[in-house]
Symmetry: C2
Subunit: 216 residues, 2 copies
């Protein structure tokens, strides 16, 4: 398959494919002559994944590169590769340590994880989800700065929902064949179910709001 055909089959312009090749998001094709290269189904699949991560999952090109690299790193086991990939995902601004709301938020987050039996070290050492922990602290701090209650009791239902969702996610992952496919699936599902989840919540809120507030 030539560049033009890869472009036609993926719906991505040749200019953008060249850009991804340059940025290392797509491995180079097999060089046929000095001015031609051959691409295969693997390239098509990878390209679709990259596109989905960037366009639907809204992750920056640089993060996508790191995520892709983690997927292929043979030196790590499944859990480590997934952790490294998750680590590379965008996660907003770091908590502002000069703010006392952050300190309180950190205590709330710790108490929540304690109650759920989640491992803090899971969240603090590589490879795992420390950025997600920072993201949680930042968000809790912002909410409490605005005066909204955001303590362990309020957060627990969200965390329980997250637990159930994670179980669904990994059930889906385990149904994939090889470990390589499983890591790819885990990353793709982590990223691409985020908009699914957010849009479902917004739709559910609209529904619930209609039920409670319509006409008020």
């Amino acid at each position: 398959m030539r560049l033009a055909e890869l472009s036609a089959r993926s719906g991505v312009s040749t200019a953008t494919i060249k850009f991804y090749l340059r940025e290392g998001l797509l491995h180079p094709g097999r060089r046929v002559t000095a001015t031609q290269a051959d691409y295969d189904e693997g390239h098509l699949r990878r390209l679709r994944l990259v596109r989905a991560l960037i366009q639907v999952g809204r992750i920056p090109v640089s993060s996508a590169r790191e995520v892709i690299a983690a997927l292929q790193d043979e030196r790590m086991d499944l859990h480590q590769r997934l952790g490294t990939a998750t680590w590379a995902l965008p996660h907003g601004p770091e908590p502002d340590e000069t703010d006392q709301a952050t300190e309180a938020a950190r205590r709330t987050a710790d108490a929540l994880m304690e109650r759920l039996g989640w491992h803090r070290d899971n969240a603090c050492d590589r490879p795992s989800a420390a950025p997600a922990y920072g993201m949680l602290v930042t968000a809790i701090a912002a909410l409490s700065r605005l005066g909204y209650p955001c303590d362990v009791e309020h957060l627990e239902p969200y965390a329980r929902a997250a637990e159930r969702i994670a179980v669904s996610d990994l059930d889906l992952v385990e149904r994939c064949g090889t470990p390589d496919e499983q890591v790819e699936a885990a990353v793709a599902l982590t990223v691409l179910y985020e908009p699914v989840l957010l849009s479902l919540r917004r739709l559910a809120e609209a529904e619930e709001s209609r039920r409670r507030f319509d006409g008020k």
Copy 2:
């Protein structure tokens, strides 16, 4: 309160506050002299909300302006204002109608909403969550293009979790005093709980991945 004090109390630079004033995210202060203006607690509160929406909720300045405007629009009821605000939230690329995966995704989304008893018109007419519906379709299409199963059966647990979360959200909203406070709360909670939810899911996935895959 002068600009400098507003800046000090909010932690936002005077340059940025001036920028927000220009962009209409913050109503002008009361003019004292030709070169001085006076700001009150309302400005501080608004500024904190804007900052949280932009930095934590990652919504663009232009969307934030629309959201803020919807909050204050006295012509609409609670449900309508919330719908208008939600409508202004970022929601990724529109579904690609030239793609047949989109068509299938739309059928899946419709079937899911049917099964949950959610109202499609709720999602399609203003004021409500049509962008969220488009976002859902786009994400489902991307997943199925990558070959991941994404039918009503797989989606239902996510939707059920979303329903429970929406109930928690609106319980919190109803605990706020005046209708004006309630709309603001609804928007703030919609936007600011998104990172909470996403980070909790990532943490839960890390936990579940450790349980299942560590060492594999």
